[in-house]
């Protein structure tokens, strides 16, 4: 790609940035202007970049996106189909704009004990120090053009702070609703889990139509000693949309990060998950499922970095690829010289439903310590004929048998979501999608 074309597409993606109102938080204004400089100094990745070899994002440069001009006036009835019974606390964003009328406050006892669930722009002065030290602090995001773009537009976002020794039993639902075409939105989440705290966060991207738009998210999760965070990420954007996401997680001593990420939507999606096991005895699970069809492309890049000894990480990533869809998985496990007694497993399993479906998978291990237990692998296959015959021999039709087996393949990941109503909702989505007429 020539320099001229590149700078044009970058300008395109920065459209509307200069009209953003100044933030009351100095830190945010400073991060923003630094990020604009970063964007201008970086290039949009092309297929010549190793990290983007299989994912051609040039289609998104052909459309002119800009931040939403007029917010869609939505009522509860428009979006309540996405609400989750367990999640009494909810932040709703419409095309990237915080919607207080659809959001619900955290229950009073939690608020009194210092739990914060709010829009970043509404953060109170006592949380400034925490925001200052953690927002935009994860270094691997610095050289990432999409993360920089997100920061350029940093204004409203989800802020969650769980103080020391506090357990928030009910999951917190972050609901991002897309409604308008050719809109760019840059959702941001910052989660600070203080020592020995516990919380479940659902990051949920949904759409009300089938428009073309771009969602470009950054999530930063900071887990202090012995904190426990469940993170569920659901990407069910429009099948015409672009979805780019960066999630950075840092884990201190004995902390525990459990995540399940599901991708159904978007024409092209890319999820970068970066987990740093920075303290001894930290544990992480990063499971994923991509269920795609037609000409969708779903790309997951995960990097799990074992820095300290006695940490464990487990990753199961599955893809169900129908029609001429294309999935990409790149899973890197790094075990640093200090990280003795690391226990790490990674498995990528892919189900190709047609001869045109495609998967590019690359599990990578980079081990610099000698006393470690690491296992990784990838499988690619079709539905098993013996399994199909077994089901048919019990009277199930060929189609039902195939649907059931496809569904079961994905259900293994969905089963791991710790929120019953969401699990049920997703099971129905998968069921519908795997059911052919």
């Amino acid at each position: 790609m020539s320099v001229g074309a590149d700078s044009k597409s970058l300008k395109n993606l920065l459209q509307g940035q200069s009209q953003l109102p100044a933030s009351p938080l100095d830190r945010i204004n400073q991060l923003r202007s630094n990020a604009v400089n970063r964007v201008n100094s970086l290039n949009l990745p092309t297929k010549h970049d190793e990290d983007w070899r299989f994912t051609d994002i040039s289609p998104l440069t052909k459309i002119s996106f800009q931040p939403v001009q007029e917010a869609s006036p939505l009522k509860d009835s428009d979006v309540e189909q996405f609400y989750l019974t367990e999640a009494v606390t909810r932040l709703v964003f419409i095309d990237g704009i915080y919607a207080p009328n659809l959001s619900t406050q955290i229950a009073e006892p939690f608020e009194k004990s210092g739990v914060v669930v709010s829009s970043l722009a509404a953060a109170s002065s006592e949380n400034l120090a925490a925001i200052e030290s953690h927002l935009g602090s994860q270094t691997e995001l610095q050289d990432n053009i999409f993360a920089a773009l997100n920061t350029s537009f940093l204004h409203e976002g989800a802020l969650i702070i769980v103080p020391r020794n506090i357990s928030v039993e009910m999951p917190i639902h972050l609901l991002f609703v897309a409604t308008q075409k050719e809109v760019s939105s840059h959702p941001r989440c910052l989660l600070i889990a203080e020592p020995n705290s516990r919380v479940t966060v659902i990051e949920d991207y949904v759409t009300l139509g089938e428009e073309t738009y771009i969602t470009n998210t950054v999530a930063e999760f900071v887990l202090a000693d012995s904190a426990h965070v469940n993170h569920v990420r659901i990407q069910r954007d429009s099948k015409e949309a672009f979805h780019i996401a960066n999630c950075s997680v840092s884990l201190a001593q004995n902390s525990n990060y459990q995540s399940v990420s599901i991708a159904f939507g978007a024409r092209i999606s890319r999820y970068n998950l970066n987990v740093l096991l920075k303290g001894e005895g930290a544990e992480c699970t990063a499971d994923g499922l991509a269920l795609i069809s037609n000409r969708q492309l779903a790309d997951t890049h995960a990097c799990i970095d074992h820095i300290k000894p006695h940490c464990t990480s487990h990753q199961l990533h599955k893809c169900i690829i129908d029609d001429a869809a294309h999935a990409v998985f790149n899973g890197k496990i790094i075990v640093r010289p200090d990280a003795q007694l690391t226990n790490s497993t990674q498995s990528n399993r892919n189900l190709l439903l047609t001869s045109k479906a495609r998967i590019d998978t690359k599990p990578q291990l980079e081990i610099f310590a000698d006393d470690v237990k690491c296992a990784h692998g990838a499988t690619i296959g079709q539905l098993d004929n013996e399994e199909i015959f077994y089901l048919k021999s019990r009277g199930l039709s060929e189609v039902t048998a195939r649907d059931l087996l496809t569904y079961a393949f994905g259900a293994e990941v969905i089963e791991r979501i710790p929120v019953a109503s969401l699990k049920l909702q997703l099971e129905q989505v998968v069921h519908k999608q795997t059911q052919k007429d």
Binding site: S393, R394, G395, L396, E398, T400, L405, A408
Partner: protein, 262 residues
Amino acid sequence: MIHQDSKTLLKIRGLCATVNNSEILKGIDLTIKSGEIHAIMGTNGSGKSTLAKVLAGHTSYEITGGTVDFEGKNLFDLAPEERARAGIFLGFQYPIEIPGVANNQFLRLAFNTAQVQKNKDELDPLEFDDLVREKMKLLEMNPDFLDRSVNENFSGGEKKRNEILQMSLLDPKIAILDETDSGLDIDALRIVSNGVNQLANKDNATILVTHYQRMLNYIVPDYVHVMESGRIVKTGGKQLALDLEKHGYDWVNIEKTAAAGA
């Protein structure tokens, strides 16, 4: 039990089948009537499991000759699922493990498919739960098996009990049990056999495909057929199985040779 007014369920004539161009069945003739229990015995490789799979419609086998008439219909006109719905049940020698498919979900799906076929009402999960738990008692199965994935990490005996559980739910006209006794200890053999006996009645028929006589101590066959090299070489009553157990399969050959020589 052999009845006077029994009707013919299955009529196999000159059945030949190949797998990967190698001929396994070389002209099988067999008639099964309602109320009857047939045992098909034979050495490994004699074709008895192939016969079971061909009747159920496994796609790896090619039918190269002969006819199979099932209640007046050409069996080969029916897809495997249509055969199952019409009342043919195959108990697998090696039941397939299906991770991610809950056993109760699978059982209910299969059961309701059969119900629709019989013009009966489908059962909702609660109604079905009551029914299946009742059936499980007969097989002394732990109800925990309902929540587990189909056959996944089941022991050999548990898998076979799960097969008979499916049979009891589907209530087939012809049950073909392929080496159901293999991998069973004495207790499991008794329980499974007891289940099969309870399901046998004057309107259905059972075909036991087995290498050993021991299951026939529990399920008493009306006919015993000995297969060898893709053919039925000898047919007799239950005594034949005992003779085989005593003398070995070679004895059939010696008898045949003697008969040919005489």
